[in-house]
């Protein structure tokens, strides 16, 4: 006897611009005004410049931990651009650009990279968590943030990011599943940049797409061309709007690539990927594609880009200077920040260090 189908699913793939910047899908062109379109380009240029600078600074020892982002600009910038300022981001450690454009001060992101406590002191009016090192931990926290919004009746959305490797974590599934079961306003954004350090995405899972993992949580999953900022924005906007309207979470898989190493802590990508792969992805560069699109609409020029690069460099230098001028931490300060009220034991240990009133 033939079995019948218990369930069916499909995974949509969305692209708006091709590699040359031509519109392939006119129905999905998001309604953004000229100013917003130019802003998207500026943000991508800023991020590329920031990345180049950060890599140099890391090599000089002027930055600490840094995970390069070149190649992922469309995926990062396009998705954050679709959120409101009071939506709450739960970033992974590579998601520094989203933090910055969501209001996280640049000098504090430098401090975070260097390993200074004040790097994590997100300003009260910035709705963003500190970048998460434990892959997947941010994903189980996302339903908690989203549930808070739902309980208070606030029209806000929790947005979290992880990579392709992160989708193999238990927490990735648990987070999506909680959000689905409780119908929470959340978006799970996966940046599939093809490699988890040296391990190619094919070794993470036999699943044909990562977006289909949403099926296991009973929530919509969409795959998007992550090198196409209009497609990313369009798909993300839809997910955020759905969440805000009380229709529950969405998972998005953005197909993208990181041109640089995994982190600046000794990773050498030539050990695990070929020059051909690298070049093939460089042809899909999100900046080339969107630049062509804007130039064809008369919204962007080479001179404008150069001028903007100078502006970006100045912003970065000013932030670097502010980070340099930040006061050094002390061990007693670390002790004092453990609890609202220090325990007797911590007070004893503090006194031991400072030599004040030790017993």
């Amino acid at each position: 006897m033939l079995s019948t189908s218990a369930a069916q699913f499909e995974v949509p793939y969305v692209q708006v611009l091709d590699e040359n910047g031509n519109v392939t899908n006119p129905d999905r062109v998001p309604s953004l005004n000229d100013e917003q379109l130019r802003d998207l380009m500026k943000r991508m240029v800023f991020t590329r410049i920031w990345d180049q600078r950060a890599i140099k600074l890391a090599r000089q020892g002027r930055l600490g931990f840094y995970a390069p982002v070149a190649g992922q600009e469309a995926s990062m910038i396009g998705s954050e651009f679709a959120t409101n300022k009071d939506d709450f981001l739960l970033p992974g450690y590579r998601d520094i650009p989203q933090c910055y454009f969501h209001g996280y001060p640049l000098h504090q992101l430098f401090l975070y990279s260097r390993g200074h406590q004040l790097g994590g002191k997100v300003p009260d009016d910035v709705h963003c968590m500190i970048p998460q090192i434990i892959i997947g931990a941010q994903i189980v926290q996302t339903p908690g943030v989203a549930l808070a919004f739902k309980l208070r009746g606030e029209k806000r959305v929790a947005v979290t990011y992880t990579g392709d490797g992160g989708t193999s974590q238990g927490d990735f599934y648990e987070g999506m599943n909680f959000a689905g079961a409780m119908k929470l306003p959340a978006v799970f954004f996966v940046q599939n940049n093809q490699y988890a350090i040296s391990v190619p995405r094919e070794l993470q899972t036999a699943a044909q797409t990562l977006a289909q993992k949403a099926v296991a949580a009973g929530i919509p999953g969409v795959q998007v061309d992550g090198m196409d900022i209009l497609a990313v924005y369009s798909v993300m906007r839809e997910a955020v709007d759905r969440a805000r309207a009380g229709e529950g979470p969405t998972m998005i898989e953005a197909i993208t690539f990181r041109y640089g190493p995994h982190t600046m802590s000794g990773d050498d990508p030539t050990r695990y990927r070929t020059q051909e792969t690298q070049e093939a992805w460089e042809k899909r560069d999100p900046l080339i594609r969107f630049r062509n699109y804007l130039v064809s609409k008369g919204l962007w020029s080479e001179q404008e880009e150069q001028a903007y690069i100078e502006e970006a460099k100045e912003t970065i230098n000013a932030a670097l200077k502010q980070a340099d001028e930040t006061e050094k931490m002390t061990v007693p300060q670390l002790i004092d920040s453990m609890f609202a009220e220090p325990t007797q034991e911590l007070l004893r240990q503090r006194a031991e260090i400072t030599g004040e009133g030790a017993n």
Partner: protein
């Protein structure tokens, strides 16, 4: 005043806090409609609604992650882990995340989360229900660990735990849930965290203990008194992180001898830390080394041999005799 079991005192405390502070949320596996596998949350969902007391999917990391996200947004979550042996599933969210939130954000975020969880031996549970894993969280900077031994303490300590601005792990010994009743005031009262309680006065040796071993130690002290005419002072730590070393030192100044009794294996639990602290702060008052009365370093025993494995009053008396003959 009312006569309450420990489980009733816990329900009563949760009820008071849910009524007092609308930021308090109670959730976990089967804590809603069902009222909890031990009835600790009985009637609370009906009284406060599904937005305040609710069931979650069966996933411990998800539960504590949920608590973490809610805390970041200003709620005061009181999640439950059904049995503390399941804490390994949530280890990162506790030891890697909520315990560090205030520190890594320099105070911008905090996690006023109270994790309730049953544990403890003597009731013939299946595997990984009874294990004493509190020691893991003594080694976790940023969390407090509370273990009440009576209905009265359970209520006062739980109110303090929920009101604490930082994460607290509140461990409820299964054998104590319904083993005896005690007068518990109906009104609010708190017992400060980090403060021990001298439950039996004595002059010849100090027993430092917590959880179900408090009653066993008192029994041992009475036996010792009858057999040897010696009096043991029994200190119930109530909070094992941080440890109330002042109360312990004060007692040792009087008794000059001490043992530590715990249900956790020799290398686990709080015993080694207690001995180290005594060593640092009371060495000149000691006539003998501080000994530990604990189960051996095996995996938690199979149900049929549990009673042989757990410390008995006789074993504690033997340890007292050893420490007084040195």
């Amino acid at each position: 005043m009312a006569q309450m079991t420990m489980i009733q005192a816990i329900t009563h405390a949760l009820d008071l806090e849910l009524a007092r502070d609308e930021r308090v949320l109670v959730f976990g596996e089967d804590v809603g409609h069902n009222g909890g596998v031990f009835r600790a949350t009985e009637g609370l969902q009906k009284k406060y609604g599904e937005d305040r007391v609710f069931d979650t999917p069966l996933a411990e990391s998800g539960i504590i992650g949920l608590a973490n996200g809610l805390a970041v947004q200003g709620f005061r979550p009181v999640p439950e882990i059904q049995f503390f042996g399941f804490v390994f599933e949530a280890f990162d969210q506790i030891a890697g995340q909520i315990s560090r939130l205030r520190y890594r954000s320099a105070g911008r975020f905090s996690a006023p989360v109270t994790i309730r969880s049953p544990f403890g031996g003597g009731v013939h549970t299946p595997e990984l229900h009874s294990d004493s894993l509190e020691g893991l969280f003594l080694q976790t900077p940023g969390v407090k660990v509370v273990i009440p031994s009576s209905p009265y303490d359970a209520k006062g300590l739980l109110l303090s735990a929920i009101r604490d601005p930082d994460p607290v792990i509140f461990l409820e010994h299964m054998k104590l849930y319904r083993s005896f009743r005690q007068e518990v005031p109906e009104e609010e009262y708190t017992i400060p965290l980090g403060v021990a309680n001298v439950v039996r006065e004595g002059k010849d040796a100090t027993i430092v203990t917590y959880g179900a071993m408090v009653a066993t130690s008192v029994k041992a002290a009475e036996q010792w008194s009858k057999e040897k005419g010696l009096e043991a002072e029994v200190i119930d730590l109530r909070t094992i992180s941080p440890i109330d070393i002042e109360t312990i030192v004060k007692s040792i100044q009087k008794t000059n001898r001490a043992i530590v009794v715990q249900e956790a294996q020799r290398s686990a639990g709080a015993a080694a830390e207690i001995v180290a602290q005594i060593n640092e702060q009371a060495i000149y008052h000691l006539e003998a080394p501080v000994l530990r009365a604990t189960p051996p370093d095996t995996v938690y025993p199979f149900g049929m041999i549990e009673d042989d494995w757990l410390p008995t009053p006789q074993y504690i008396v033997d340890t007292l005799n050893k420490v007084t003959s040195l």
